[in-house]
Symmetry: D2
Subunit: 358 residues, 4 copies
Amino acid sequence: MNTFGTLFRLTDFGESHGPAIGGVIDGMVPDFTVDMDFIRGALGRRRPGQSRLTTQRREADEVRFLSGIFEGRTTGTPIAFVIENSDQRSADYSEVARAFRPCHADYTYRAKYGHRDYRGGGRASARETAVRVVGGALAQQVLAAKGITITAYTSAIGGVAMSGGVGDYSADAIEANPVRCPDAAAAALMEQEIMAAKKADDTLGGVISCTIKGLPAGVGEPIFGKLQAMLAAAMMSINAAKGFEYGDGFAAATMRGSESVDTFVSDSEGHVSTLTNHSGGIQGGISNGMPVTFRVAFKPIATMPRPLDTIDVDGKATVIEVGGRHDCCVVPRAVPVVEAMAAMTVLDALMLSCATKL
Amino acid sequence: MNTFGTLFRLTDFGESHGPAIGGVIDGMVPDFTVDMDFIRGALGRRRPGQSRLTTQRREADEVRFLSGIFEGRTTGTPIAFVIENSDQRSADYSEVARAFRPCHADYTYRAKYGHRDYRGGGRASARETAVRVVGGALAQQVLAAKGITITAYTSAIGGVAMSGGVGDYSADAIEANPVRCPDAAAAALMEQEIMAAKKADDTLGGVISCTIKGLPAGVGEPIFGKLQAMLAAAMMSINAAKGFEYGDGFAAATMRGSESVDTFVSDSEGHVSTLTNHSGGIQGGISNGMPVTFRVAFKPIATMPRPLDTIDVDGKATVIEVGGRHDCCVVPRAVPVVEAMAAMTVLDALMLSCATKL
Amino acid sequence: MNTFGTLFRLTDFGESHGPAIGGVIDGMVPDFTVDMDFIRGALGRRRPGQSRLTTQRREADEVRFLSGIFEGRTTGTPIAFVIENSDQRSADYSEVARAFRPCHADYTYRAKYGHRDYRGGGRASARETAVRVVGGALAQQVLAAKGITITAYTSAIGGVAMSGGVGDYSADAIEANPVRCPDAAAAALMEQEIMAAKKADDTLGGVISCTIKGLPAGVGEPIFGKLQAMLAAAMMSINAAKGFEYGDGFAAATMRGSESVDTFVSDSEGHVSTLTNHSGGIQGGISNGMPVTFRVAFKPIATMPRPLDTIDVDGKATVIEVGGRHDCCVVPRAVPVVEAMAAMTVLDALMLSCATKL
Amino acid sequence: MNTFGTLFRLTDFGESHGPAIGGVIDGMVPDFTVDMDFIRGALGRRRPGQSRLTTQRREADEVRFLSGIFEGRTTGTPIAFVIENSDQRSADYSEVARAFRPCHADYTYRAKYGHRDYRGGGRASARETAVRVVGGALAQQVLAAKGITITAYTSAIGGVAMSGGVGDYSADAIEANPVRCPDAAAAALMEQEIMAAKKADDTLGGVISCTIKGLPAGVGEPIFGKLQAMLAAAMMSINAAKGFEYGDGFAAATMRGSESVDTFVSDSEGHVSTLTNHSGGIQGGISNGMPVTFRVAFKPIATMPRPLDTIDVDGKATVIEVGGRHDCCVVPRAVPVVEAMAAMTVLDALMLSCATKL
């Protein structure tokens, strides 16, 4: 299904080389003044061509709102928006029509639907994530008005990783370099790693870390709607994501219970917190008032400027070489997508929590 | 919300020390002969007291079906079932009423709902997972009739891990030892690891690996309903789960694209497969016909037989020591829960895929 | 699907002659003190055998709560309950196994599911509505605490109808006679109508009118979730319901616009109301603060003590005569069911309205 | 919520005088060749200005598809479309900004959202139904390929009603006159009725009847998802709809059971039907293979060219006179809307029925 969320809902549409991509946001808080610059800024951080590290493909990514905003404020009705597809070099993709790119969705879409728009990845193109960024940028504004902020950054690229757990960094530190890594030394190494892979006609993956601050205790549903389950689904729905962990994550599997206990304390004003945050801000599926921390692993994308063995649509062995301008490493551009998905998830969970408070 | 799934749905209820736990399964294939022994067997694998490694707490876990099955076959109407709670030593839990156990849901439930059933963890108790096992055991039977099998096993406990990726093991090999690890040598070490932690009044986490075989290509929804997103949500909804990864998972973040390509090949009968399975059986969110492989990390549970610092319900510092009989390591008992959640997820995805094939 | 509602949800299960019927309520307001007598009272109004007008079949309808209520207050977790089936005279229904009762669900269930529980109507039995009454009785308590009341009554039985539109009557007036008609003169005629039909081995339908008072303006979703659409679905889901109308209803089709205008007025305190209520309290799908008024038509049930032509499961013509003790007119017993469905619908709509008020 | 359906889903957006209205269809059958002329034809039947009976307001209603269709065939991905708003005479609506039109959604939107787009009814404008017609036209094509047809017609306008129950008429007979009534004599009287009301600066309502043919037995969900409940919700979500009935409808309330029995018969090929169709093709919420018949009542719209008493946004009494070009009777233009909603409902129910047939 192409709709995300229960109460704050984004319905997402569009193919990479169709007329337009876009979405419909339902459940937006009414009478809310929208900051259009914030939305444009978020799109700019996801856009190709933003630095020498990313693809030089140009996408204008001009978002046009069709409904739900009147005199600058939301009306409570669905907010529809479109981003026209302008830079369509369909010629670049003719190869894909007759053969399946390895590790792409060409084969699976065909298996599922019988008929596919093969141009530029069609529906499976990461271009679709621009729609999520618009939805997320609206959710982030609502959350910000409640004092809730979401900050993601690149914590690993290929073999280079920042040390330590998920930390609390400023937007300035994160945006100070094109990899979006707040550790300047690590960032420099990551840039080198990318340039080396590029030279080798290869690609790289990495890890994005994210912190949600200001979320009050009591958000998230126990059992199936646990906050970590919703965040995991949101993150694993992003193209190229291969893993999700929160709090201590996979490292917790190797720890003893006594090493991973978060002790509750209460200050003089009765505000409860924990001395450590192994729990990643969530206990029993519900936020405990501490920062929510998680990490998402991304694989290297499978589109690289070299010939690859595969089969054609008739099952015959062939070689495919996909032209076009592709990223060597999408991780820096995925940072705003992680933030967007986190924002929509948290706002939805917050709205669910409010519903029983009649 | 306490309902899992879109078309195959489990609604789950019950507290650890209330009269009963249970569930309602909606969307079950009609006119299907139910194997009750299979359900009992799955519950037996989850049950406490099954080996010297697990808690000696006894829960009969007798499941009683109230509806939806007539003359041994399903009628297409909701299948409700209850498991009465018999062995309730409420006295063991009196401490929990007045203070918050660290890393448990005591504080967050109270923050969310104002009022909580504190006995034995109440709704947040892992006892709830017995309900999932019943739902999963029904889903597994439907899948088995379609040639789809789901097999999970313990691949790491504390510091002991099996080497290699997610493998294909027989039920016999997995059930040959109480830790449910198909590698006998690793299993022996894991048992030692658990006995040592137990002696130290401590607890251990671990990792469960799972393989889904026989799933045809074309199952899973692109974009938000990606098969890996649904599996991630399902797994992260299990108590104590801290991380999820599929295919190469977090390791993919450190690989180059050229190392992680799965090459398509086609045999003489036109059957498509890939030479490797870095993708974990899913591409673009949709199954590609290869085995679906994933791993779930579990933290060590926070209930251990030693005094722990915390605060009481009034925010005053206190020490809590929870009695009762608890597992030192829940991972072996979580194996059937992982299988159950995977089965319900895959059946649901399969039903969604069938809906457009009018 | 067997779940009703979006945020306040009832999952309903059970067959007439299975072990039990019951339900799971999810989304109940937490920390709410439940009045069990109110629930029992509502069930008593629906129960067979309550007057000489209804079937003398006895159903104890003892409701047992399994979860979600602790120390008399709701915990926010699912409230599961069961009503055991005690008075099962399966012998009465043996005929139904081999032939299809006309105007019942015997044929359609078989067409849909292949396999059916034919005893006493199985899942299609009106006994299922007892579950709705329990869910509704909880919703009514929450609404009552907000000053919102729901009152239904019988306004027509067979050829006898009360004159005038949907009115505002006291529970005392409605419960003063076994037909639940607040107009004593009409009630007497209705009783005669029922006794005459009974004597003729025939059955009767009727109309139930309902008023919702105290609902604030602003509840209901425009477009597809219009309050009247939700109420219509709720009412038309009740067994034997054939029609739904709100405000002026079908009569509006014959009126001129100028006759059906509701003029807004405002009192000295700024409270807005309308001089008339042709709109039935809903404009544009959203409540306007006036009483919500609607009517539901019920057909005469098709089970009557006389031989009826039909076909058997092999398509051969046959005659069926269903024994057992059945109602001549179910309308008086359907009054609490209409109230229950209205209560759950309104509470759900109210919760949806609150969700955006973060 | 602005999404209709469970598996075949239409998400609908747009305000009357915003940049555009439109929708996103999710769950469309893949690899299906779309007949664009059919869609345009359906829109043409809903469009204003199509006859001397309707408003002379012009709306081009050019639909532009943005995604989901490639090389003329559906790809299984969301089908987004927009209809730009061209003929926007905003000046006509300035009055509405400061006062509430009686029996419109002006007051209730403001009560709900605080902020509203008052131009031309904004979101509450019947212009939104054009979006439904596009969704319905796609659903109708899928159904037609399965031999299922949906035909609606005007059966009453103001005081003029066709005699008899819901009948089976050809599109030619229905489209032979501007009121869309297949009974030529009644149609002539209806036209006179409309011209008379128009002369009196007044408006008229009416009734639309609809028949669904070719639907196999077994479609619809028992209990809450009864086919009649889904149809009722669909119809009552249309602007100005005040009542819904199926089969004998409200008349059933006055009949005896023995008068309303549908006797099953089986022909030599084992095809089951009923001698009469009081049930309206649905028994126990599930289709029985007979034509599904229902009727929808529409009120006269409240916009008429005369001054009306009301209050302004500050609660002060005022008089409003809405200019612009409005319909005297919207019923003929609502015929394709009824068909569209019925088509989407039936296709959704059919898909739900197919989901368990793995």
